[in-house]
């Protein structure tokens, strides 16, 4: 596990692509902060914040899914996996090692970019509040963790890099772009009183939506979700909810990685 972890971490960060990503994220985040120029500084949820959150929701999951899935298929295709499978190492530990390594690398890339953007925006006096900065960063961290995990799962199912890439895009499209349309289409067949409950359950299946709703509540926007979700929103407003979200993230990832490990084990045979 340790070897997989360190190798993943170091090789990822040594690739020139990670430096490209640093530049990309720095530019994107700075531009997003720039959006708020000419507007009063607010702690709450505004259209600019909505745009920032939405753009991060478009970009981060897509990149993380692709990076996660490719990190597995790369080794499968390069034959490294065949070599590894001759060692008596459990596939689950291998997958966890890969995930944590990749996670540290991605967080490093994002943190550097985010830190630079923060300093830049503060010096240039963009009216972005501290609360926004902290919460957006946390929001991104959750997105990175969830979607890297899912990406790795996709990687274990894909047979080629090309397939991994395509599946990542499809999953991204379903989770991010089509989620509302899909649910609305399905929920037409659900009896009315169950709709709110079903929506509440699906929220926990799609981490993008869960994290989004959670952070909108943290920005003070809980009331927009309406009467049906008042209890959920009230819960999200409590300080206790952050540790619960962290625990949920860990459980979700554990499940995803277990399935990934199981799938790899089967491929080994």
């Amino acid at each position: 596990m340790k070897t997989a972890f360190f190798t993943e971490w170091r090789t990822t960060l040594r690739q020139p692509s990670s430096f490209t990503f640093v530049i990309l994220w720095t530019v994107v985040i700075s531009l997003l902060f720039l959006l708020n120029r000419g507007l009063p500084q607010f702690d709450g949820y505004t259209n600019v914040l909505g745009t920032i959150i939405n753009l991060l929701l478009y970009l981060l999951p897509l990149f993380m899914l692709i990076i996660g899935s490719l990190s597995i298929t790369n080794e499968l295709e390069s034959g490294q996996w065949a070599l590894l499978s001759t060692y008596p190492i459990s596939t689950f530990r291998y997958v966890v090692g890969k995930f944590v390594g990749q996670l540290v690398a991605q967080i490093a890339v994002f943190s550097v970019s985010y830190g630079i953007s923060m300093v830049l925006c503060t010096i240039l006096q963009f009216p972005v509040s501290l609360k926004w900065m902290v919460l957006i960063y946390l929001f991104a961290l959750f997105l990175i963790s969830f979607f890297l995990g899912i990406g790795i799962l996709i990687g274990t199912f894909a047979s080629t890099r090309w397939q991994a890439l395509m599946s990542s895009v499809v999953i991204w499209f379903i989770f991010i772009m089509m989620w509302a349309s899909l649910l609305i289409a399905i929920l037409q067949f659900v009896p009315y009183p169950l709709i709110a409950n079903v929506l509440g359950i699906t929220l926990f299946l799609n981490p993008a939506e869960l994290v989004r709703v959670f952070f909108v509540v943290q920005f003070g926007g809980g009331a927009v979700f309406g009467q049906e979700f008042d209890t959920l929103v009230t819960f999200f407003k409590m300080t206790l909810s952050l540790p619960v979200l962290v625990i949920y993230t860990v459980l979700y990832l554990a499940t995803v990685l277990t399935i990934a490990g199981w799938k790899l084990q089967r491929r080994k045979l």
Binding site: L39, F42, A108, G115, P127, M133, L199, L203, F229
Partner: protein, 435 residues
């Protein structure tokens, strides 16, 4: 030093005594009701720094003036002060109900049924309604504060007209100021917080609501079935705690003039349902979740308003027959039309979300979700059924003030930013040398 002050005071008091009083004055000590009864009509009762534990009824024109620590306190289920006469003046008194854990008090702290009453700087802490007017005219409530146990109205005005409520601080109430069937009144410069409805008009015409600050309530101000209200210079902000919150709510309101108000950080800035012939001009509508929401409205004028930073600026259904033009929308696409200050691209309301959630309110969960944008792109609602601003302004008619420079957050941001960068770099270079 002390002696000097004492001397000054005695001299001052002595001087005061030299002036003959035109109205007989009584210094109150002992039983307040008796004192009031003994005071002739038009007389003044000066209260001491004392807590009077009783309820009083005022049935003749008198003036009661308290000093800084005058308290009238009562634990019984009766109005603490009941004003039955006309021309009564109460000033600078604290009026308190006892703590009432099991709600047994249902009477207001002050009950007024006379005319030409003047209540000034009264600090009311009630377990029921703070001040209640019933059939009162030409009266004034000015300054002071009102709190209740959170289950009653602060100022409750019923079938009363030509009254003025000004500069009162109201907290923890159901409705801050509630007017029913009370026309021709003025509500100005009040500060209302933690209420269900900050200001609530029902069946009350010709009311002026001016320069109030109503915040952190379910709803800042609510005008229901009332005609010709003037709402100007108010600030309705942070009314976003409840799932039904809004800054200003016009329901079945007619001919209201809403101008130069600031509506910020509310769930909905201005919500209009079944409202007709109102005019909304020169309001600053900033950072609300929904700036303006219309449902089944017509013949309203919406112009010269400034919409900034609202997550959703305009939502409307069944509202095409309104006059919407020359507003500034910060999210509209702008291309100037022959330097007329307006854009050639009309700005359109988004009706889809409202239509969708009207049917199934649970879909509000998709508010501002990236997947909602896809739906909006997929289902274009016919243009003629959508409310639009034909000539959006290029520049906001109202500009906001620049935020002042704050040292601490700036330093924190810099420190945090640098820390993140350093940690990131550390992760980059960690153990690299050993390989």
């Amino acid at each position: 030093m002390k002696l000097k002050a004492f001397l000054k005071l005695t001299i001052l008091l002595g001087l005061l005594n030299l002036f003959p009083y035109y109205v007989p004055s009584v210094s109150a000590q002992g039983h307040l009701q008796t004192l009031i009864d003994e005071t002739p009509e038009g007389g003044t009762v000066t209260l001491l720094d004392h807590t009077y534990e009783e309820e009083i009824t005022i049935s003749k024109p008198v003036t009661l003036i308290g000093s800084d620590h005058t308290v009238i306190r009562s634990c019984s289920n009766q109005p603490i002060i009941q004003v039955e006469s006309d021309h009564v003046r109460l000033e600078n008194i604290k009026i308190e109900h006892c703590e009432d854990p099991e709600p047994s008090i249902s009477e207001p702290a002050i009950f007024v049924s006379g005319d030409n009453i003047h209540l000034e700087k009264l600090h009311v802490n009630s377990q029921s309604i703070g001040i209640q007017f019933d059939g009162v005219t030409n009266s004034v409530i000015e300054g002071g504060s009102i709190t209740t146990n959170g289950t009653s109205n602060g100022i409750d005005v019923w079938e009363s007209s030509q009254n003025r409520i000004q500069g009162v601080q109201i907290e923890t109430v159901i409705d801050g100021i509630y007017l029913e069937r009370s026309s021709d009144s003025e509500i100005s410069e009040n500060d209302i917080q933690f209420a269900r409805y900050g200001i609530h008009l029902m069946y009350s015409d010709d009311v002026l609501i001016k320069e109030n600050h109503s915040y952190q309530n379910f709803t800042g101000a609510m005008v229901m079935t009332s005609t010709n209200a003037t709402i100007t210079g108010n600030t309705f902000s942070e009314n976003n705690l409840n799932v039904n919150s809004q800054g200003l709510f016009l329901f079945d309101a007619h001919q209201a003039t809403v101008t130069e108000n600031t509506l910020s950080e509310n769930r909905i800035g201005i919500n209009m349902i079944s409202a007709e012939d109102n005019s909304l001009t020169q309001n600053g509508i900033t950072s609300n979740f929904i700036g303006l929401q219309f449902n089944t409205t017509k013949d309203n004028l919406i112009s010269d308003n400034s919409f900034n930073g609202n997550v959703n600026e305009l939502q409307a259904v069944n509202s095409t027959e309104n006059d919407v033009e020359r507003n500034f929308w910060d999210s509209s696409i702008k291309l100037e039309k022959q330097s007329e200050g307006v854009s050639i691209f009309p700005y359109q309301a988004e009706p889809l979300y409202l239509l969708l959630t009207e049917d199934v309110p649970a879909y509000q969960l998709f508010f501002d979700s990236p997947s909602m944008t896809v739906i909006e792109a997929l289902f274009k609602v016919p243009k003629e059924t959508v409310m639009q601003d034909a000539y959006p302004l290029m520049q906001p008619p109202i500009t906001h003030e620049e935020d002042g420079f704050q040292l601490l957050p700036t330093i924190l941001k810099l420190v945090l930013g640098s820390c993140l960068t350093l940690i990131g770099i550390k992760l980059f270079t960690f153990r690299r040398k050993r390989i």
